[in-house]
């Protein structure tokens, strides 16, 4: 009976990683949503909450890494299982970064305080955040379901986020040109928009990692990413 016994402990360890990643995903989503709500409502208390929550993701990432390394050392997994563990490490790193981006947006709430954000700008930021969060949510669902076709789809769908980011970028520049008093707050909003746009990149990274976990290779073809907007300013990394 020993092999079964070992396998089931091993499964427990993999399940631990999967569960912790899902938890991290939930926390990251919450932080990003809250940070944008804090920003458009200048809600300092909510911003402070987001800032204080960052440590949850830092701790979770460290614990996932530790568990992953202990599991590798003890179980000496091969091929698919090893990829599963390495993938968990990568996804945890992406989710930790998503939390950092939420925290950075939250920190900027204090800097835009006192300058009211025009309604359509706020709506633009909210819309950008909705799309980025939807992408993050879908990719976390794919992590649970391991639907590889879906993972490829998400990877090919960053375009909408980029288009909205570009239009927000233009709009923010316009506000800055209209009145020099808008320059400082709009600069912070530019960075916030960039933070949100980068969440889409992390969702794409996670989709690639899930593809790799399932197949052992990277998705084919260049990652769809380009800047049709160099002249106006919304430039991808």
């Amino acid at each position: 009976m020993t092999p079964t016994h070992i396998v089931s402990i091993y499964d427990e360890e993999l399940k631990y990683l999967t569960r912790r990643i899902s938890e991290m995903g939930g926390t990251a989503e919450q932080m990003v949503g809250d940070s944008v709500r804090a920003l458009v409502n200048t809600d300092m208390a909510l911003a402070q909450k987001v800032i204080s929550e960052d440590v949850i993701l830092d701790t979770a990432e460290r614990q996932i890494n530790e568990k992953a390394i202990v599991t590798i050392a003890k179980r000496q997994p091969m091929a698919a299982d090893l990829r599963e563990i390495m993938g968990a490490i990568r996804i945890a790193a992406d989710l930790e970064r998503v939390g950092d981006l939420g925290k950075n947006t939250a920190k900027r709430v204090i800097a835009v305080q006192g300058s009211s954000i025009p309604r359509n700008l706020a709506r633009g930021l909210e819309h950008l955040a909705e799309l980025a969060l939807m992408q993050l949510k879908e990719v976390l669902d794919v992590y649970a379901s391991r639907n590889i076709e879906k993972a490829k789809e998400i990877r090919e769908r960053d375009d909408e986020i980029d288009a909205i980011y570009t239009s927000l970028f233009r709009e923010l520049l316009t506000y800055m040109m209209e009145d020099p008093r808008n320059i400082t707050p709009c600069t912070h909003l530019l960075f916030c928009a960039k933070n949100i746009e980068r969440i889409g990149d992390h969702a794409t990274n996670i989709a690639e990692t899930i593809f790799y976990m399932a197949t052992g290779s990277q998705p084919e073809g260049e990652r769809p990413k380009d800047d049709h907007t160099t002249s106006v300013g919304a430039i991808e990394e």
Copy 2:
């Protein structure tokens, strides 16, 4: 004689990882240096060179990951050796990001084209880049030497970069307020300054990874990072 033989092949594999990381470091440094030179001299050809070099780091990171995973699967390393391999994966990811930041700066050269960058702004950007590159170079030396005390020192020394970034941020806002025609190019320079500042963060990450590789734990104490500048706008992640 077999154990010695196995150990020496294993050493070769670890050496391969160390060598490829050093190469990645060299490429990343070069790309960042070139991107800032391209920016301050509006040198489109050099910018294009940086953009085209990004694939070198992407490929190197993928190869390092593959080698690392094959090594783990074949050699089933314990403790220190496993940390060595996991550390290589993490450092490769940081260096790949540094290359992305250089590429992003290079992409913005086209956007600031036509607007001459005031001499003292250019000097500020160059100075920021020098400091960030020095930090990156030192951390890569520490990776080669494994001088742990030095790794801790680098981690505690991001402050100078932050101070220069903050002063550049203020200066850029001033230019934008002086003349609305400065707004678009200065916005790009803001993102370039942020890119360079983030290289310092990646150097700090690498220093932490080296510490972890040597000791199996994270350096103690909160990572020195804070924003005394929320009101002016230079905000850390």
